[in-house]
């Protein structure tokens, strides 16, 4: 069977089907990706949505390929719409030779009349059409697309809905009209030459036992599929074929983190609702009782307690209180929530409590862009709090890292007895992709100097929670352990934990705490601190430096650049604290041309690198419009800088709707 190398990208507007509050929870969009996953293909999906529940435009982009892909691209080959707004906003993103699926009844809609499109966008689109002598209507948009050789596929959704209703004997059309989304997916699959059975299977998974809903969708889907087959006189230039594969997971970043936390032993999770972090806690809560392997406790279930708190201050302090009992405890938030958590972070630092904070950064400052993407919080999480204390900051780059890092960060937190921040972002939280199956035994559980209940207390029974040691780490007892009474205080304290303002003690305690960071830097293997992707060329022409979710589009862009003979290597920094100073210095010292790529205004990681290594990366590709970087943007940005490397360049990327 022939497998096309051609990358397909498909875009479907978010239906008016907001199951999950403001986020696009359209099961139909995921059904397209699901159908492709069942057909053995790799998928990558990007969700963009407004901070509102219903109304403003949201959309979902899915990229499908027989080879692994890790990012989205600028333009799409197939645009599936079921409202006029999507057509108006996105028709110009369809590649020549691609297709647009739409309802012919939209044609008369005037662009001015769609009040959910922002005025600047309306003016932009109208000016574009006027230049070509086209009317400011959907018809004009469609004509423009036609002139660019885009295939148009008018689908009378309402007819198909009415026929479906008749066939199942449903008089209330509104009950059936919800299938419009599945109709557009079905039409897409027909055009792409993909077997409809994959969609049926995917629907079965989405709707579970709801037989009537499944039946309704399947009937409509079949009708739409056949209609589209008849409509397309010429085969659509892009065709999808199933591929051989191992079983894969199709999941989002916040689900990957949730799985990692449960596997990694997190047993208390606190949270206050915030976008885009809350999905993770909700996923955990819906899996609060889970199965153990036989080697665990046979026949018994494990459990994790999820508590919704009154605010983020309570979220971190409650998790910290829990951690004092020896439980692995975490909280999950976004930038604004983390701002509130800062005093709790300082207390955990002062009292050497291994509490984990998962921080999904989004557009800031203040409320910023709640549902949009940004990597603007790196320097904030590195330095948040008054005073000085050590912390772990680990930045994941993709969904697999989200999972494994969620386990690893508990090991770091417990081994070095300090708060640990798992820094992720909106792009990772909400992107969905197929990934190879995850393993629960890849990261062993390491609890550091935790005193087991079997131990007897040393000396004359007096336990010193903060006893001095060469590596700075003291044996850690937990609350309720017989023979190990201890004290904590946010005040500077002595080794027992009582308040102590003596200057000598202060020096020793500060040194003890800060030494732990050196211990961590020394003990954590270099391969856990960063990833380095080599060029196929012996000497790379360009060294890309980045962190976090830009990993996906950078790897995809690297492939494009390497194909053109440009040697590219990529340093992905994962551990921001303790920082892998020597390794980064070494990699950058050998770089012919270094480019810093970040999803923020100032290039925060470049600033950290400069602070640590004294190396200034003056070429930067940055983006701060709230939309994640695409493969194409990075490709173009790198080429732009290479074309004139003598100048220090700052390329600002702007793609995204």
């Amino acid at each position: 069977m022939l497998v096309l190398d051609q990358i397909e990208q498909y875009m479907c507007p978010n239906c008016e089907y907001p199951i999950d509050g403001c986020e696009c929870a359209c099961p139909y969009c995921s059904d397209f990706a699901g159908a492709c996953a069942l057909g053995g293909l790799w998928t990558f999906g990007l969700r963009e949505y407004y901070s509102s529940i219903k109304g403003p435009h949201s959309y979902f982009e899915v990229r499908v390929n027989s080879e692994r892909i890790r990012s989205h691209v600028n333009n799409v080959n197939l645009l599936a719409t079921f409202d006029a707004e999507t057509l108006i906003r996105h028709a110009d993103e369809v590649n020549p030779g691609g297709g647009i699926i739409y309802d012919p009844s939209f044609s008369a809609v005037e662009i001015d009349k769609v009040d959910t499109i922002e005025t600047p966008a309306v003016l932009r689109i109208k000016a574009r059409l006027a230049k070509q002598g086209l009317p400011a209507t959907v018809a004009g948009i469609l004509d423009e697309a036609k002139r660019r050789n885009v295939n148009l596929y008018p689908i009378p959704y309402n007819d198909i809905i009415a026929k479906t209703a008749a066939q199942i004997g449903e008089h209330q059309l509104s009950k059936v009209s919800r299938i419009i989304n599945v109709l557009s997916v079905s039409v897409s699959l027909a055009l792409l030459g993909f077997d409809l059975n994959y969609l049926d299977q995917s629907l079965g998974r989405t709707f579970g036992g709801k037989k009537k809903v499944i039946e309704m969708n399947e009937i409509g889907a079949r009708m739409a599929y056949d209609f589209a087959k008849d409509l397309a006189k010429q085969p659509f230039p892009y065709q999808l074929r199933p591929a051989q594969n191992q079983s894969r997971l199709l999941l989002m970043g916040n689900e990957a983190v949730a799985l990692g936390k449960i596997v990694g032993g997190c047993r208390v999770q606190t949270y206050y609702p915030i976008t885009p972090a809350a999905d993770e806690s909700e996923f955990i809560e819906s899996h609060e009782n889970f199965d153990l392997l036989d080697g665990g406790e046979p026949g018994k279930k494990g459990s994790i307690l999820v508590t919704q708190t009154e605010d983020e201050i309570a979220a971190i302090t409650m998790a910290t209180g829990a951690a004092l009992t020896g439980v692995r405890a975490a909280t999950s938030t976004s930038g604004p929530g983390f701002s509130l958590m800062v005093e709790g972070l300082g207390w955990a630092g002062m009292n050497e409590v291994p509490v984990v904070i998962t921080q999904y950064s989004r557009g800031g400052p203040s409320t910023g862009q709640p549902t949009r993407h940004e990597q603007g919080d790196l320097k904030f999480v590195l330095s948040a709090s008054h005073g000085e204390f050590p912390r772990i900051v680990l930045c994941s780059g993709d969904l697999e890292e989200c999972f494994y890092d969620a386990i690893m960060i508990f090991n770091y937190a417990e081994r070095y007895q300090m708060p640990a921040i798992h820094l992720i972002d909106k792009s990772l939280a909400n992107s969905s992709a197929t990934i190879p199956q995850l393993r629960s035994d890849m990261v062993p559980i390491q609890r550091g100097k935790l005193i087991n209940s079997g131990h007897q207390s040393e000396g004359n029974g007096e336990y010193h929670r903060f006893a001095f040691s060469d590596d700075g780490v003291s044996p850690r007892a937990v609350l309720g352990l017989p023979g190990y009474r201890f004290w904590n205080s946010g005040d500077e304290h002595d080794t027992i934990g009582h308040i102590e303002e003596d200057p000598d003690n202060r020096i020793k305690m500060m040194t003890k705490r800060m030494t732990k960071l050196e211990t961590a830097a020394h003990e954590i293997p270099e391969e856990e601190k960063f990833n380095f992707f080599r060029s196929t060329k012996k000497q790379a022409d360009v060294t890309l430096v980045s962190w976090g979710s830009t990993k996906g589009p950078i790897l995809d862009a690297m492939r494009m650049l390497e194909k053109e003979g440009i040697g590219v290597e990529f340093l992905q920094i994962r551990l921001a604290s303790p920082f892998p100073t020597e390794s980064v210095r070494e990699k950058l010292a050998g770089a012919k041309l270094a480019i810093d790529i970040e999803q923020n205004y100032t290039g925060q990681m470049a600033a950290v690198i400069a602070e640590k290594t004294m190396i200034d990366i003056s070429n930067k590709i940055v983006k701060f419009n709230g939309r994640p970087m695409s493969q194409d943007e990075i490709y173009e940005g790198v080429k732009q800088i290479i074309s004139n490397p003598s100048q220090n360049r700052r390329v600002v990327l702007t793609h995204g709707a």
Partner: protein
């Protein structure tokens, strides 16, 4: 092992001002602890920031001196993770009813089985005497440049509105009443508040020991002072809600509690205003969802198999997210 008062002493120098109500609270609390069937290994005191917060350092039981206003979330987190612990949270009125009042309200909604003691003296002692949320409108304690411009918050009413299931008030220098009230609070199944009125000899020159003692109110017959606090227990008042009570009776009882909480000035009721064990604790509510919660609580779970790897069955956990290649018959 029977706990003696001397067992609860630490060597830490006590830096409270002479005559501080905190001493009375410390003494009453410690006596209560010796009279309760408590395993000292399971006892944890949590405190906030303020003069009251230091009490954990003066008490020989595990003590977590937390942040200003945050004692409740810290304490609740520990109790939820390990429900076997005996958790007592202690804070000041500024601490718990000012900066921490949000936590106060939500702790009531949860009804976790633990105790919360408030040192209530009407001032922020450790920052030199600013007005706390329990100071009444128009009062000008000695370090206030102007009279208090805010009305006071009533911990009893607020606790009732927030869902606390045990609400009591006592007085720092009535040691016997104090220790009995604390004992009842600790034994209560659910979230228990003990609001303890106390003088601050340094900054509150209005609600002084003499004022509480009624030294300005000499009984004409006995020539003795008439103390302001009076014990509810001695008046036949009963604030308990029992399982068999009709809805009407419950409503009547609630009105009675509100009425009692309004008393202030020359007659200040102390004692148990309200107790209701018919409301399920947070632990009970969790158990309804996580059946193994009390037997194998979060802190009691095995996190690694003997080989050091996770005991979690990931395949089962991620079943919904797994897409197995579907081979279609063609």
């Amino acid at each position: 092992m029977v706990l003696r008062l001397s067992d609860l002493k630490t060597d830490v120098h006590n830096d409270w001002c002479p005559g501080c109500g905190d001493f009375g609270i410390e003494a009453g609390l410690k006596i209560a602890l010796t009279e309760l069937p408590i395993d000292i290994n399971k006892l944890v005191l949590f405190s906030g920031i303020g003069c009251s917060g230091k009490i954990v350092h003066f008490t020989n039981a595990s003590g977590i001196h937390t942040l200003h206003g945050r004692v409740l979330p810290f304490a609740q987190g520990a109790k939820l993770a390990n429900p076997d612990l005996e958790v007592i949270a202690i804070g000041g009125d500024g601490d718990g009813l000012g900066i921490g009042v949000g936590h106060f309200v939500h702790a009531g909604r949860r009804n976790i089985d633990m105790t919360y003691i408030i040192h209530d003296n009407g001032v922020y002692g450790l920052t030199k005497g600013q007005a706390s949320p329990t100071l009444h409108l128009g009062m000008q304690t000695k370090s206030l440049p102007m009279p208090n411009i805010n009305t006071n918050v009533d911990p009893i009413m607020l606790a009732l509105a927030s869902g606390f299931t045990f609400i009591a008030r006592t007085y720092a220098y009535n040691t016997k009443h104090l220790k009995e009230t604390v004992k009842k609070a600790v034994e209560h199944k659910g979230f228990a508040l003990v609001d303890i009125l106390q003088p601050c000899p340094t900054y509150n020159d209005i609600n002084t020991k003499e004022w509480y003692g009624g030294e300005d109110r000499i009984d004409a017959a006995t020539k003795k002072p008439t103390p302001r606090p009076y014990e509810l227990e001695g008046t036949g008042y009963d604030g308990r809600i029992t399982p068999m009570m009709s809805e009407d009776d419950v409503e009547k009882k609630m009105s009675q509690i509100i009425e009692k909480s309004r008393e202030w000035g020359d007659k200040i009721p102390i004692g148990v205003f309200y107790q209701n064990e018919t409301i399920p604790t947070y632990e009970d509510r969790i158990k309804a969802r996580i059946p193994s919660y009390l037997e194998v609580p979060p802190s009691g779970q095995q996190l690694a198999k003997p080989d050091g790897t996770s005991p979690v069955n990931l395949a089962s956990l991620s079943k919904q997210l797994l897409f197995e290649r579907l081979v279609l018959a063609q």
